[in-house]
Amino acid sequence: SAVISQKPSRDICQRGTSLTIQCQVDSQVTMMFWYRQQPGQSLTLIATANQGSEATYESGFVIDKFPISRPNLTFSTLTVSNMSPEDSSIYLCSVERTMNTEAFFGQGTRLTVV
């Protein structure tokens, strides 16, 4: 398995502001992903965080709204920009040690936008 530390665990933010979420893994991993889980819903992939290059975004998600960094093999950040109440959700970091193996998840960041 992998030990994943995600910060903050929760936050309440004003609309129009931005929040950066951090994901730290206890060892190097090949793949890092960011998911969103809206209330009562399942997980939706936002993007794959690529080390040293731009993230790969899924349909419906754009870099201007969800900029992602991955400076090395153990750390990534997701920023939720210019927030609105519709961005209220749980954001989850996920890692795979190598490609096509099981994914492990952080504890999530519960974001409320008011």
């Binding site: 793949m31 997980l43 998840f105």
Partner: protein
């Protein structure tokens, strides 16, 4: 379009009452099927990976099986601590990403 459907949406069981959760999938090519458990306010916890039809995996009171169209998570003699949402996800040949179902919310009463 690749799709994952879980049923039932919610399940209430008496302690000791065995049952099964279903995960049906329609994908172009299955690389792997994953089961996760999620407790309220926490991230999903990995349970099993299944790769080919006929494969079975067991862990304590849980047993996962796989056919060419669906997977079952069998819960034998459940306890209240088994209460959680169980998520199924598939990984296809075309992509490394996971496609999740909507989950089954399980409640086990003493």
């Amino acid at each position: 379009e690749d799709q994952v459907t879980q049923s039932p949406e919610a399940l209430r069981l008496q302690e000791g009452e065995s049952s099964s959760l279903n995960c049906s999938y329609t994908v172009s090519g299955l690389r792997g099927l994953f089961w996760y458990r999620q407790d309220p306010g926490k991230g999903p916890e990995f349970l099993f990976t299944l790769y080919s039809a006929g494969e079975e995996k067991e862990k304590e009171r849980l047993k996962a099986t796989l056919t060419k169209k669906e997977s079952f998570l069998h819960i034998t003699a459940p306890k209240p601590e088994d209460s959680a949402t169980y998520l199924c996800a598939v990984q296809t040949d075309n992509t490394d990403k996971l496609i999740f179902g909507t989950g089954t919310r399980l409640q086990v009463f003493p």
